[in-house]
């Protein structure tokens, strides 16, 4: 049962998962006092991992929905657990996002982390391995292992290198996600027994389950994924976690970690429980729309930079879940793209806030003002991220949000209409934030700040490039998804296909 099927001829996914972990092990042997070496090793390891992940972008076969770069080995034969990894159009981009974001996190922490440097970079690298593992895993046990493994470095990142209320935030983060995960574990075990003792996700997906069981399991998995996303009303851990986390923690959290919930819906909930997913669509759409509007309105009155961006994540992730549960092509593809977009844009926003926090050590919006005068390059970069966040055409945010609203409107008109209001409010809070921080008279507290240096610029520039690349020419990115999404929707809509569904809706609405 040991085989590797990919068109590269070497186990690329295992390399990507274990190279960072190997890097972390290497760091164990470096003397604690040798901070520079630790940083450089981490940097080099993350860069090599990124370079090694490039074949995923160039060699991915976009013409098939089947798993690619697959590796399959027996692991715990007595329980029928396998080491089984592979990628399809849903997951491939997230691996790339993870490898990119890790580099930026290392770069941005260069000066900011001065205590327990060694442990910090070990956490980051283990985190990277676990994140990639989550997106690659095709065996439920393996998946759950990586899923839980992610929690620990993240918990440490917040709890050790975080702000003043870090313990509270870390414990809250841990408990929320843990409670959700345990319910998912129950679900996994149930599936295992029902399907005749297999953790093989693809095998599980090929079966059909009784409707009542689907509904129960849907909600069990929902608990895990909704907390991670986070969906309304289990979002309250996110503002605390983001606010207290160090910059790198916030970036990883925003860019990758909270994507896993939405990824879970796509990877597991929809294909495993298609009928239940379809039946739960109204509830999911309501929760998504509430998250969009609720998150956006609450952003308006935030006085803390990171808290504002955290709540904006609730709103933006509402778009993602809305897109996923439209169960039509535009919605789901928009949803996946928006996950990537949110990772890029919100990741970049947290990077940016980290840059200025390092100079001022305050997150209060009122402590800023006129920063554009003293840090023009930084202001320009932040403006790009702001515009992407509010979905201006030619930035990546527009493509994702437009497709989601289109899909949402096609699925349920009210969902599309209410989601679109989020775009108005989004412009409101982001531009107001920008005004208060960058425009108006120069606040004496920021008058002496120096503009960003080369290292910080290097951390931001990939995000800027991606924002415009996806905004102007999204085809290479959307191209990954077409086959996988259409296969997924075929399964969910049991052969009816979105196009027919939509045509029916149109005919019905026009008649």
């Amino acid at each position: 049962m040991e085989h590797i099927t990919n068109n590269l001829g070497y186990p690329i996914l295992s390399t990507l998962i274990f190279l960072p972990i190997a890097g972390a092990v290497l760091l164990l042997f470096i003397r604690r006092s040798n901070g520079t070496l630790i940083k450089w090793i981490s940097f080099i390891v993350s860069v090599i991992t990124f370079i090694l992940s490039m074949p995923l972008f160039t060699h991915f076969d976009k013409s098939t929905y089947t798993m690619q770069f697959v590796e399959k080995h027996a692991w715990i034969p007595s329980w029928n657990v396998m080491y089984y990894v592979g990628l399809d159009g849903i997951s491939v981009l997230f691996v790339l996002l993870s490898t990119l974001v890790t580099i930026l996190c290392v770069l941005i922490s260069w000066e900011a982390i001065r205590e327990k440097t060694k442990e910090f970079y070990i956490s980051i690298l283990i985190m990277e391995g676990a994140m990639i593992g989550v997106f690659c895993a095709l065996d439920f046990m393996l998946f759950y292992l990586f899923w839980e493994a992610m929690l620990i470095p993240m918990y440490l990142l917040i709890g050790v290198w975080g702000g003043p209320k870090r313990i509270y935030a870390a414990v809250k983060f841990f408990l929320f996600t843990l409670v959700g995960s345990v319910l998912m574990l129950v679900g996994i075990v149930v599936l295992y027994f029902y399907a005749g003792k297999t953790f093989n996700i693809l095998e599980l997906m090929s079966m059909t389950y009784p409707y009542t069981m689907q509904v129960w399991l849907f909600w069990a998995f929902f608990a895990a994924f909704a907390v991670k996303v986070p969906m309304f009303p289990v979002h309250t851990w996110l503002p605390d976690a983001h606010t207290e986390a160090p910059t790198a923690g916030s970036v990883i959290l925003a860019a990758v970690l909270i994507k896993m919930g939405a990824y879970g819906f796509l990877r597991f909930s929809l294909p495993l429980f298609p009928e239940a997913s379809k039946a739960m669509t109204p509830a999911m759409l309501v929760l998504s729309v509430v998250a969009i509007v609720y998150g956006a309105v609450i952003c308006l009155m935030q006085t803390d930079l990171k808290r504002l961006i955290a709540y904006s994540s609730v709103s933006h992730m509402g778009f993602v879940t809305l897109g996923i549960f439209t169960l039509n092509t535009q919605g789901v593809e928009g949803g996946i793209l928006q996950m990537i977009n949110h990772g890029i844009v919100t990741g970049a926003l947290f990077l940016s806030i980290g840059i200025i926090y390092e100079r001022t050590h305050t997150r209060k919006i009122a402590d800023y003002g006129g920063v554009a005068t003293v840090m023009p390059v930084y202001a320009a970069a932040f403006m790009v991220f702001t515009l992407a966040s509010i979905g201006l055409p030619a930035t990546n945010g527009f493509i994702g949000e437009f497709l989601i609203i289109l899909g949402g409107f096609a699925a349920r008109q009210w969902a599309g209409v209410l989601a679109a209001t989020g775009i108005i409010i989004g412009a409101g809070y982001m531009l107001w934030l920008y005004q208060r921080v960058f425009f108006m008279e120069v606040n004496p507290k920021v008058a002496e700040l120096s503009d960003i240096n080369g290292r910080e610029f290097l951390a931001l520039i990939p995000m800027i490039i991606l924002i415009f690349w996806i905004g102007v020419y999204p085809t290479p990115f959307l191209g990954f998804m077409h086959e996988t999404v259409s296969h997924l929707l075929e399964r969910v809509n049991t052969g009816s296909g979105m196009e027919i569904e939509m045509a029916k809706q149109i005919i019905e609405s026009i008649k």
């Binding site: 313990i167 509270y168 870390a170 414990v171 809250k172 408990l175 929320f176 843990l178 409670v179 345990v182 319910l183 574990l185 027994f193 979002h235 309250t236 609720y294 309105v297 609450i298 308006l300 009155m301 039509n328 092509t329 535009q330 593809e333 928009g334 006129g370 554009a372 023009p376 515009l387 201006l392 055409p393 030619a394 527009f398 437009f402 497709l403 609203i405 289109l406 409107f409 096609a410 009210w414 599309g416 209409v417 679109a420 775009i423 108005i424 412009a427 531009l431 005004q435 960058f438 425009f439 108006m440 102007v472 020419y473 077409h482 259409s486 196009e499 939509m502 149109i506 609405s509 026009i510």
Partner: protein
């Protein structure tokens, strides 16, 4: 490579050069980059016009922009008569205003940034008018909005400027909300968002109704009204007009280019471009006509009493845009676009003259502190005087022809509200002439009312500013000559003198008008009299008895205060939308839902399970116990499930 791609992409290149290298390398030479690019665009635009005159139109895709399932849209270009007119208007005004800016912005520390934004704006505006599908139109639409935001807030250290920029963007988002939904409804109806198939198929489905949020509405009406939302946002029509007067915080060339001549007319362009859709929906047409008429009289009355020179012209812009909406609403799209085209020249000229005055007055905007400027700045005076004659509809000048055509077609067209909007339009013509000449007389005539220091500083503006003024004056005088009504044409011996209408015919069709020559002469007479009457009254008030307006303001203090406070619309929005939203955010969502209800529940559940939350705030020990407790609970559930299965 197609030649017409140069039109938008030259300014884009200039933007990139200036924004990336402006600060370090280009610096004081930034205007060369931008001016060369926009002048290049102008030359190619003229070349395009010649091609279109020969009947060569273009409708081509460049590359696929977004593809998802059946949704497919490209970056593509449509060049027809309507596009060409817009290309000429945009590139001409843009070029002249670029040149003017060299003098006006001289010495500003953000010089390169200013020209970068102007180039970006030109690019977006050109993409907007050249689009062959709705999504690219939307791209240009939001793009020009962004540039407007940047340029209104150009002096971003001023709170009022950054407030105004933000306000413009957000108010426009309200309109774009409807616009975006309109595009979505179009896609779901036709399966495409390219103009051509949509416009050819709309006739077949126009009579159908669609259930929209539970209401049965006519499909064409729904699409038209959703698109119309976008149009009123961008063209600052009621009730989304509030951003435009505040937009005057931007540098004056920006007010001229973006907030008078080009961007704000995008709404009118949208109406004309979508005329196949609008024409099929009488309700939508009536709404457009009424909104236009109401906005035009609403803004004109406010302009009567304002003292800020730029705001008066801004309200005048609102009012004239209302005229164009009115025209489209009565089916006279050609007349609307004709007015857009003539208005671009005389309104840009008015703004640039105002800028020239401000230049001389060291930034002073208050009319009451000016007076007698004509002897110091004769070029500005003469050009502004001519522009005011043109906007007042004095026969022979550009404004006369376009305004006359609108009023005639409103009166004689088939629109059910035609006579009503004609009456309003005529009153507005009178008011327009009055406030335009109030501005002229208060600024240039009489005695200087400012400080001595200001008087000492008075001077005519440099050549780079006055030359564009003179060139625009040519437009303000002569641009209307391509659309002389056939009635007048016969008198002066030119057949088919309304050449413009014939040129636009393939795109916008020929408007219906039923009336005798006698009626047409009569209406022309009335509108001319209204204009001259307005000028005369302004002369009596501000050249003769200055005491009369003061007396009137006292006597009708109530009305005066309403007008002075712009009908309190800003206050209304502040109290009904902005503050309640912020209040809900602060007190309900943050104060109650998040902080109390959700926190209580989610902290309460673990407490019920294992007394976790008492440790939550202070400890990190005990974590393993919690983990264990939860794991145990999980195991319990699994066990129970397996047993009970």
């Amino acid at each position: 490579m197609n030649y017409y791609l140069l039109i938008p992409f030259l300014p884009l290149t200039a933007f990139l050069i200036n924004i990336l290298f402006g600060k370090k390398y280009v610096q004081e030479r930034a205007h060369w980059v931008s001016i060369l690019a926009v002048a290049g665009s102008w030359i190619v635009a003229v070349f395009t016009l010649l091609k279109v005159l020969k009947g060569e139109t273009v409708n081509e895709d460049l590359y696929t922009w977004v593809l998802s399932g059946t949704f497919e849209v490209s970056v593509g270009f449509l060049i027809d008569q309507l596009t060409t007119v817009m290309l000429i208007v945009v590139t001409t005004c843009s070029t002249l205003i670029h040149i003017y800016s060299v003098g006006y912005m001289h010495g500003d520390k953000g010089y390169y940034r200013f020209f970068a934004y102007l180039s970006l704006f030109t690019f977006c505006m050109l993409m907007l008018v050249m689009a062959n599908n709705f999504l690219q139109l939307y791209f240009g639409w939001e793009g020009v909005g962004l540039c407007s935001y940047f340029l209104i807030g150009y002096y971003f250290n001023k709170k009022s400027a950054s407030d105004a920029g933000k306000k413009a963007f957000i108010v426009n988002r309200f309109g774009d909300f409807g616009f975006g939904l309109g595009i979505i409804v179009i896609f779901l109806t036709f399966g495409t968002i390219y103009y051509e198939p949509v416009f050819t198929q709309i006739g077949g489905v126009a009579a159908q109704t669609i259930s929209f949020l539970g209401y049965e509405v006519n499909l064409a009406t729904l699409i038209a009204l959703l698109l119309f939302c976008g149009a009123i946002g961008k063209s600052a029509q009621m009730p989304l007009h509030v951003w435009l007067p505040d937009a005057m915080e931007g540098p004056t060339p920006v007010s001229a280019l973006i907030h008078a001549a080009t961007m704000v007319t995008a709404g009118v362009f949208l109406l004309a471009r979508c005329s196949p859709i609008f024409s099929l929906s009488e309700p939508a047409m009536v709404v457009a006509a009424l909104i236009g008429a109401i906005t035009s009289i609403f803004a004109a009355t406010i302009a009567l009493v304002q003292n800020d020179i730029k705001r008066i012209i801004a309200y005048s812009t609102l009012s004239q845009l209302g005229y164009m909406f009115l025209a489209c609403g009565v089916g006279a799209y050609t007349a609307g676009i004709f007015h857009l085209y003539t208005h671009a020249f005389f309104k840009a000229l008015l703004f640039l003259c105002a800028g020239s005055v401000m230049h001389a007055m060291a930034g002073e905007l208050d009319l009451q502190k000016m007076g007698g400027l004509k002897k110091y700045m004769p070029v500005t005076y003469a050009t502004m005087f001519i522009a005011s004659l043109s906007i007042s509809g004095v026969p022979g000048l550009a404004g006369f022809f376009s305004k006359d055509e609108i009023l005639w077609l409103a009166y004689a067209g088939p629109s059910p509200v035609g006579k009503f909007v004609w009456a309003i339009g005529t009153i507005v013509a009178f008011l327009t002439a009055f406030y335009s000449f109030r501005l002229i007389f208060l600024t240039f005539h009489g005695e200087f009312r400012g400080t001595q220091k200001q008087e000492h500083h008075l001077h005519e503006s440099p050549k780079s500013m006055t030359v564009p003024l003179m060139l625009l004056t040519i437009g303000a005088v002569a641009s209307g000559w391509v659309g002389i009504p056939n009635l007048l044409g016969e008198v002066i011996g030119i057949e088919h003198s309304n050449w413009f209408s014939g040129f636009m015919n393939p795109v916008l069709g020929h408007p219906e008008a039923h009336g005798t020559h006698a009626e047409e002469w009569m209406l022309m007479g009335i509108s001319v009299l209204a204009g001259l009457g307005g000028i005369g009254l302004a002369a009596v008030f501000y050249l003769g008895r200055r005491s009369i307006p003061v007396l009137l303001a006292q006597k009708f203090g109530f009305i005066y205060r309403i007008l002075w406070n712009k009908y309190y619309v800003d206050e209304l929005y502040s109290h009904t939308i902005v503050r309640p939203t912020l209040w809900i955010s602060q007190n309900i969502l943050m104060g109650i839902t998040d902080a109390k209800i959700i926190e209580l529940i989610v902290n309460g559940v673990p407490r019920a399970i294992g007394g976790v939350s008492q440790h939550l705030r202070k400890v990190q020990t005990g974590l393993l116990q919690h983990y264990a407790a939860i794991m145990a609970t999980g195991a319990l559930i699994i066990g129970a499930w397996i047993l009970l299965r």
